[in-house]
Symmetry: D2
Subunit: 353 residues, 4 copies
């Protein structure tokens, strides 16, 4: 670093702006659009680095055994996740730039790139892993390994072995204290007449809520009965199945959605919302990317040897990371039918002032 | 109309701005967000009217038995299709506004709307029909009829019976004159040695192109051999199958993509590009709409009684309108391997000057 | 309303979709693009109606003599202001659609519209008034009155006479209780040695903060000294000048920005942020609108007789509504130099739990 | 380059992803948001490189003494300028990401960057110069030089000494051949009775057009009389004044706008449209950037010592590059009043076919 700060040195522009080496130039068959191809991928990777940086910082916060509600930590989590969404929206938009490259213009240098492939973007895979995509849920597992060098496989495997944001959110939700604090519930009013008949393993609130939810269902939706128990009951047969959020975590998340107006629940609600936003943007990105590949190479195979569009289409359906949170909306009921919380609980969820 | 033009009267703002009647108000259970729900749907329908207006005007032009290359008609077609794309991008963006309505806020009035449903938007169905979606390709045919009044079914049936943009594009492509003009081809240079062996029903250009295309394929792509003949050969077994573009039209479209640099082909290339843009935006709209429905109602059924997200997901895959044009990119070859056109053909495709 | 809810009746589509009457049709000189012109203005007015609806609901909440921190009201305010921003972003984007109308296409019907003009959009003026734009700050006051019918002038005058969001925010900020609660400050640590020398009318916190702010200024920024006192001191000579936020309100807003991490301040910080977002989007809308007008009519006069671009340019600079909030960023200091709040104050700003 | 193409090596990701060195880390006062600050500026600079690459390639084409209308060159120009617009739209959108950095978060590392400054982005200045911004039109000339190292000043000076796109467009427009080809005009019908009275130095078409334009003006617009002659007459007193487009070039540009429907004029019209699009996006970028700076630093001075917002605001108004093209819209008349071109001219502007 020179004596005086300077824009060019500070941003390492000499390195950044001299890192474009079109292969078509090297082979003496210069193709104009290859520069765009390189630059857009480099910007994508820079943004992936930034996304990883933000997600890592969020995971560090969420890893704490207990978040202090009075610290600004949850606010920081919301802010950084929201930044990730903002970045992802730009990444979706950037596809417009890629689409200015017509199929004929891509063909001018496409074969020179084989077998390099976007599937080798280890940063994107690491991002998916840190957010919560498990190896076993990945589409085309062997394929993705076959594309990568051992060094990068190791990076992704390591990321997959670490606590993902989804797992940390699960733990955080499970820690929600309100249900176990007896005082909050002693004045809770229920409408379920015969408590003896209710599921005794269930908390008084959930017995009541379950009852009200069932009453709210249209006759064609009666299958949601079983679904409710499957998702929320600790006795769920589905308990050991492939789920990322435990019944306890699902109950906490639903409670947050239902009573988001209470001060203590406001930021937690924003956390859940941001997770769904990230999933939606990732999903939109994958979708537009798939369409773009289809328009560019049609039914040709990808430079990395994949089946192109078909591969991407399958990944699209399988790679929703926070879908168990999204599906909780199935279990909401109208605000006017919501059980009222007791005055004690109201204070518990409020400010000190 | 008063003596003097006035913004408010001209735009009929008294009608437009007094056409919002929240059902929750009528039922005395006022739900704040219902106004948004009404307004956003009204703006969607206004834009659908505009899209229909533009597509109709395009179809009127395309219906002419012969477009005069020297008239501004094709330019008008490109301009208006491009406007449709611009409108569709805003419609995609508008989903952001809808997403500011949380599931709980929607629940406050959702049940009051039954059985009204967005499936009853006859304008959108008419738009799909005019662009080229056939009844038999529609997902959930009976369902969509069950939702509509006879009056609207008639409107859509009528639209389906009219020449769609896709059909008109097919006819326009089939009329491409260059291949039948002998003079253009007498000096065309070929590399296929034994012409006797080539498909005699094929034009000299396509025999040559087919040969070069086959040479360009990677070994894993050999299945594209058959695909090529299926798409482009008049003898194709697939001839009578469910296709919208005839082999002749496909040949013309591919020719336009390959030689888009010649003046006469520049606007035709823009026409094809705009059709793909429209399909992409429609597809992105359907995708984001599906995601939004999923986030809003989860696994609940739609207000119209549909299975919600699942219905939308199936429609997503089936409702690409111009996919036969998109798939032609599978058959491009590199610019440096393209057959050169003769000097006569060059003049034929150029300006008078 | 028929027995059964129906999409078309519910949305009054018969009225909405039959409210387009191109003047060029009536005059028998049909101009294709006039339909777009009508439809886009109608969608703008529909969205203005929605914006007014949201802002009105926010103002109703803010009008309460005291907002209960434990009610969800402030959350509702943030949510609805944020929705306004989302809508405004779409309105900015919609200019892309208008720009598909070339100057020549506009000329085909432009003269037929005289003297109607977008300046007659009373809804937009009402929106500006409700947000906080005063008549005396409006550019071209007589001009705007000359354009409107008495009926609309009355609507806007009435809106201007009501408490605007800016005024309500000022009152709400002034009510901030923390400074007057002695307990919060008895353990507050200061570095200003000689308290006797400090401005005795000032609160201990502000004396300390003023000191630290002055120390943080670069030598070229010394003029900010006076500015600080002008903005924050109750003795400010500028006291009676044209300002919308009182010194007390400015102090509260700055305090919120500085200590936004404390639970009680999180939503207030989001309120301030949303106000700036709205201003930014309104400003971007005005800017792009001005550019569009310039591209469309150049140096011709507007249909309403205005000087077109020049008028819009002047309004651009004068119509920032929340600029006094934006300018508070001039007075921030680095987080590591911030005075620490006492433990009592920490509790006061935190959750009950 | 290793034996086998690989995504990571091809994109030089080891260099690109290891070029972020937060100064706050180096000084041991780590500030989370500095990484974002670095990454976003690096992506901006990558895109500036791409924009320079596209504009350079366009200028190379435009530099040819004569463009062959039958070559695809003009199509390439339109395509690449359109790509620049698409890139610029993403750059405008990226400001959303920067705005996720709150003023307090920026303050955490802001002072460490002095005196580095975005004004040192020589690529952006080179881009402006290549497009057509002259040193003498630049706001704050000495200031910008004081910020840069000699090496970068030399780069920009060199760019300013080369033919800019604006100058090349001027030359290209001046070469328009149609007016000098007598045959095109011998059957041109005029309505100006006494030709003897018309400006003899003017071409028959422009004498006629000038007459029709004057007739189209509203009474308040009579000052446009003089403006017309000033812009289009070779005798213009304004001839030697500070203008970038000569009267002959302005006439050609207006003719293209008026008769854009003729085949030969379709691409030239798209060229002019793209130039205005680029200016609009650059202008929107400057505007949002100015607003962002204002929100972030208020009335503090920039890290490079500039007056921050005020500097940017002045540049905003002065740095329109293609404003002389934009202003031609002042001189359009309605399509139905346009002089008809002769049949000979019609052929001249059409296809050979």
């Amino acid at each position: 670093m020179p004596n005086e700060m300077n824009y060019i040195d500070y941003l390492r522009l000499n390195e950044i702006l001299n890192a474009q080496f079109p292969e078509s130039d090297r082979q003496g068959k210069s193709a104009h659009d290859e520069m765009l191809f390189i630059v857009i991928h480099q910007t994508y990777e820079l943004w992936f680095k930034q996304l990883l940086y933000e997600v890592e910082s969020v995971n560090v916060i969420m890893q704490k055994p207990a978040l202090n509600d009075n610290s600004p930590e949850l606010q920081t989590v919301v802010h950084r996740l929201s930044r990730c969404t903002t970045i992802l929206k730009v990444l979706v938009h950037q596809i417009d730039i890629m689409e200015t490259m017509t199929p004929m213009d891509f063909l001018d240098f496409r074969d020179m790139l084989r077998p390099a492939s976007g599937f080798q973007s280890w940063q994107f895979k690491k991002l998916e892993a840190w957010l919560g995509l498990k190896y076993q849920h990945r589409h085309g597992q062997e394929y993705y390994i076959s594309q990568l060098k051992q060094e990068q496989i190791d990076i992704i495997k390591k990321a997959e072995s670490e606590k993902s944001l989804l797992e940390l959110v699960n733990k955080w939700l499970e820690r929600t204290p309100f249900f176990n604090e007896e005082m909050n519930w002693k004045n809770f009013q229920t409408t379920v007449n015969n408590r003896a008949n209710s599921d005794t393993t269930q908390h008084i609130f959930w017995t009541e809520y379950r009852h009200r939810y069932f009453e709210s269902l249209a006759s064609e939706e009666k299958s949601n009965y079983d679904l409710f128990d499957e998702v929320f009951s600790d006795d769920s047969k589905n308990k050991n199945a492939e789920r990322s959020l435990s019944p306890a975590a699902c109950r906490a998340a639903l409670f947050i959605m239902l009573y988001r107006g209470y001060p203590v629940l406001q930021l937690p609600f924003q956390v859940l919302t941001q997770l769904l936003e990230i999933d939606e943007q990732l999903s939109t990105w994958r979708y537009r990317h798939m369409n773009m590949v289809h328009r560019t190479i049609g039914k040709r195979i990808g430079t990395g040897g994949s089946s192109g569009r078909d591969y991407l289409k399958s990944a699209l359906d399988k790679h929703y990371i926070f879908k168990e949170i999204a599906q909780l909306t199935s279990f909401l009921i109208e605000r006017r039918r919501l059980p009222s919380l007791s005055r004690e609980m109201g204070s518990r969820l409020g400010f000190a002032g």
